[in-house]
């Protein structure tokens, strides 16, 4: 065996490490460890001079193992692996000691921190001694992409990728794409008509030769890995033949059965056969079996009688479609917070108390009131209160700020003033108008005469205590700028409800093995530098499924996700985990315990030879089989028992 020559490099990370850890002492200590040929410390190991230092030492001193003690390996391991590879050393003959995140930043006492840093360096040195060169495997990338969610994020990402002539499967749960943005009337701060800017994009998606639109469909199963995923998608039965239907809408006109419209937040009605809204893409209706008389009572079939194209098909069943893709973008959006549990605001009990999204529909020209801002009795409100932070910035519900409510509250104020001239009161905690042209919009609304009251509303009640309040909704609270308890009688109350994770975000997370942050939204790989990737390679996130955001940010993130996917497609191949498991068939007793434990079915039993064998392309290197093998026949490359034992001994100095 070759002589092991280890180079150890202790990074100061400016003052991040050196302020707390005595880096000189750690470097001196490292020099005394077995097989260490050189030990240095430097201000920034990740900088070009830092990396050059390692490369030169490799050449001059013949180093064949490298340890860098600096930040988390999750940050700079690829940097250093790349550097030593350039100097001709296999990138796996490298180990990092995390003396920043796990040591200098978390340890109060400088002496304790230095001792801990020594232990971590000692562990890395002892471990790297046993490292073996590993081969980096590459597999081709399937150029097709799956996008889950057909809101503005999914639409944007789909168009960006499809425009490069790569196939996109866009899967949407609802009968039409468009998402929440299609429910909006205007968009802040420009007051663009939401439909006017969204529908051209929806139409492009519907017509795009490289987009296969799968609406009224849900992803049921995902398997495989970056570059070659497989997905099973359930296409729910529409009971309308998509190939025959021309979207004339006669079936909808003739259908005698009605149900509350989900698209109108239950404020309006739709038929039992319906398209959610006029500009739906695809413009093909679905039959809601819960409200269709034929499905409930076995008769009616009016739609079938009037459809000249014979497109109605009551015999249709759900189809499971299997597709192969290389990358996945998750753009599943958000749910609007249900304020019913906040009983003091009277939502669901008092008339004319609406959520943000309900009011959006009331404003909308094709909404339940045809765009007229009116009360339940049909009259125009003379005064409206908008309560901020309903469900957000509230430790009982969501601690986070939903980021868009201040702005949509301003938008509503403008629309109310413009269309009804009513007095508008906003009860806010802080006005957060942080985006481009947002502050200017706030100023405009101040000038338009909106009453801004700083203080969170405590109650909305109909119990009047004087004549002025009779027949009104009274918003109670404190004006914290005047230090005064106030009661504001109004005709209508709009609750600026929070954006929250989808109710099924946990299941979707499990389906794709992506994690969620404490607030329940999907977790990005790095909060600043990798906001669209996830811990699972080849799975990207865009839009509100990652956290509340406005339309510009959603579109930007969707484009970013598309760029990441396109980079992988254009490279055409992807490196796979080299740290996989391998079975020593001499030692394997053929007990098959590992076969059952492997979550990826990567291990199969070879009947003829009475041994198990691992398919390296499927192995993701978790090491569960290694831990379970009673014969000790399985080796986990880069995490061998020998390596981990050396690390244990090293860390216990």
């Amino acid at each position: 065996m070759e002589d092991i020559k280890i180079g150890v490099y202790i990074c100061h990370c400016g003052l991040n490490i050196a302020d707390v850890v005595d880096v000189e002492e750690v470097a001196k200590y490292a020099a005394t460890l077995p097989a260490v040929a050189v030990s240095r410390n430097y201000k920034f190991m990740c900088s070009d001079p830092g990396q050059s230092m390692i490369k030169e030492d490799i050449k001059e001193l013949g180093l064949n193992r490298i340890v860098v003690a600096s930040c988390s390996p999750l940050m700079h391991e690829p940097t250093f692996r790349h550097a030593i590879q350039e100097a001709g050393v296999n990138p796996y003959l490298f180990e990092m000691a995390n003396i920043r995140e796990h040591c200098s930043w978390t340890t109060e006492d400088h002496k304790d921190a230095t001792e801990k840093a020594k232990a971590l360096v000692s562990a890395a040195v002892r471990r790297v001694y046993y490292h073996q060169p590993l081969e980096i495997r590459e597999v081709p990338v399937n150029p097709n992409t799956l996008i889950i969610g057909g809101g503005i994020a999914g639409i944007q990402a789909a168009l960006e990728i499809a425009d490069s002539e790569h196939k996109v499967y866009l899967v949407e749960r609802d009968p039409s794409i468009g998402g929440h943005m299609s429910q909006f009337d205007k968009t802040f701060p420009t007051l663009d008509c939401s439909a006017c800017i969204l529908t051209p994009k929806m139409t492009s998606v519907g017509m795009h030769p490289y987009i296969e639109l799968m609406t009224y469909s849900e992803v049921e199963e995902i398997s495989g890995f970056v570059g070659s995923f497989k997905a099973k998608i359930r296409e729910k039965a529409r009971y309308v033949d998509e190939d025959k239907c021309n979207g004339c809408g006669v079936c909808i006109t003739k259908c005698p059965w009605k149900a509350a419209s989900e698209f109108d937040m239950g404020l309006g009605e739709r038929k039992a056969i319906y398209t959610p809204f006029a500009q739906a893409v695809p413009n093909i209706p679905v039959i809601d079996t819960e409200h269709c008389a034929y499905f409930l009572k076995g008769k009616c079939r009016a739609c079938e009688k009037f459809c000249e194209l014979g497109a109605i098909d009551f015999e249709q069943v759900d189809q499971i479609v299997e597709i192969e893709i290389g990358n996945i973008i998750v753009a599943t959006g958000y749910d609007s917070f249900d304020p019913t549990p906040i009983t003091q605001y009277g939502y669901g009990k008092l008339d004319n108390v609406y959520t943000g999204l309900e009011f959006e529909r009331i404003c909308n020209a094709v909404g339940p009131t045809n765009g007229k801002i009116v009360l339940k009795d049909g009259s125009e409100p003379k005064s409206v209160a908008i309560l901020h932070c309903v469900g957000s910035r509230d430790e009982n519900y969501h601690e986070y700020c939903s980021r868009v409510c201040c702005m949509y509250a301003l938008k509503y104020s403008h629309l109310i003033k413009e269309r009804t001239g009513a007095e508008v009161y906003q009860m806010y905690i802080d006005m957060r108008c942080f985006g481009k042209a947002y502050e200017e919009f706030y100023k405009r609304l101040c000038e338009e005469g909106v009453n801004f009251i700083r203080g969170k509303a405590s109650e909305v009640t109909d119990r009047a205590i004087n004549e002025d309040e009779e027949g009104k909704l009274i918003v109670c609270g404190e004006d914290t700028l005047l230090c005064k308890i106030i009661r504001v009688p109004v005709d209508m109350v709009i609750l600026a409800t929070a954006l929250e994770p989808r109710a099924d975000a946990a299941e979707v997370g499990k389906l794709l093995t992506i994690s969620r942050s404490a607030d329940g939204f999907f977790l990005e790989r790095h909060p600043k530098l990798d906001p669209v990737a996830t811990m699972t390679d080849g799975v990207f996130i865009a839009g509100c499924c990652q956290g509340p955001k406005d339309i510009p940010d959603t579109v930007a993130q969707a484009s970013a996700a598309a760029a990441r996917v396109l980079a992988l497609i254009s490279k055409g191949r992807v490196e796979l985990e080299a740290a996989t498991a391998v079975i020593d068939e001499e030692k394997c007793s053929g007990c098959r315990i590992c076969n059952l434990l492997c979550p990826y079915s990567a291990i199969s039993y070879i009947e003829d030879e009475k041994v198990s064998r691992i398919n390296e392309a499927l192995c993701k290197g978790c090491g569960t089989c290694v831990a379970a093998c009673p014969s000790g026949a399985i080796t986990h490359k880069q995490f061998t028992t020998e390596e981990i034992t050396a690390e244990i001994e090293g860390v216990l100095i």
């Binding site: 988390s72 390996p73 999750l74 995390n98 920043r100 995140e101 796990h102 040591c103 930043w105 978390t106 340890t107 109060e108 006492d109 304790d112 921190a113 001792e115 801990k116 232990a119 971590l120 562990a123 946990a506 997370g509 499990k510 093995t513 994690s515 969620r516 942050s517 404490a518 977790l523 811990m535 699972t536 740290a579 434990l597 979550p599 993701k620 290197g621 978790c622 090491g623 569960t624 290694v626 831990a627 379970a628 000790g632 986990h636 995490f639 028992t641 981990i644 034992t645 690390e647 244990i648 001994e649 860390v651 216990l652």
Partner: protein, 142 residues
């Protein structure tokens, strides 16, 4: 009794190690006694590694993985849980207090939980005193 416990923490790469990174990034301070060894999955940690740690002189062993259902490798963390449950009585039979072995679920977003866990486990090991296999301590209460 002056005793500086040595504790080994096997943290999974996807949740707990990242949680510990987050604790660092957030500058949460905690006891320096837990020394982290990164494994890809808590399911990689078996009896051999736990016993190696204890026989090498660790006063405590912490195994931490993703919350059930959140495992990056689907269910490796549940295998870890079964093993830990299985090995505890065995440790007892060896004369090692079973409380020296602890399993925790820590997600990548639970930086503060890393600090709480490290602190409370260090405190627990402090109460138990040095492991009888830890040769580096001259126990003052002997």
């Amino acid at each position: 009794m002056s005793f500086d416990p040595k504790i080994i923490g096997f943290l999974c790469n996807w949740c707990s190690y990242r949680g510990a990174d987050l604790a660092g990034t957030s500058r949460v301070k905690y006891a320096p006694n837990v020394r982290v060894i990164r494994v890809m999955c808590s399911g990689r940690v078996n009896e051999i590694l736990i016993l190696k740690a204890i026989t090498a002189g660790a006063d405590g062993v912490l195994v931490s993985g993703c919350h059930p259902g959140d495992c990056h490798y689907v269910k490796g963390n549940l295998n870890a849980m079964r093993r830990i449950i299985g090995i505890k009585p065995f440790l007892g039979a060896m004369g090692i207090e079973p409380d020296r072995l602890r399993l925790e679920w820590i997600s990548a977003s639970e930086g503060p939980k890393v600090a709480e866990t490290f602190n409370s486990f260090t405190e627990k090991i402090n109460q138990l005193g040095p492991s009888q296999l830890n040769k580096s301590h001259n126990c003052s209460n002997d």
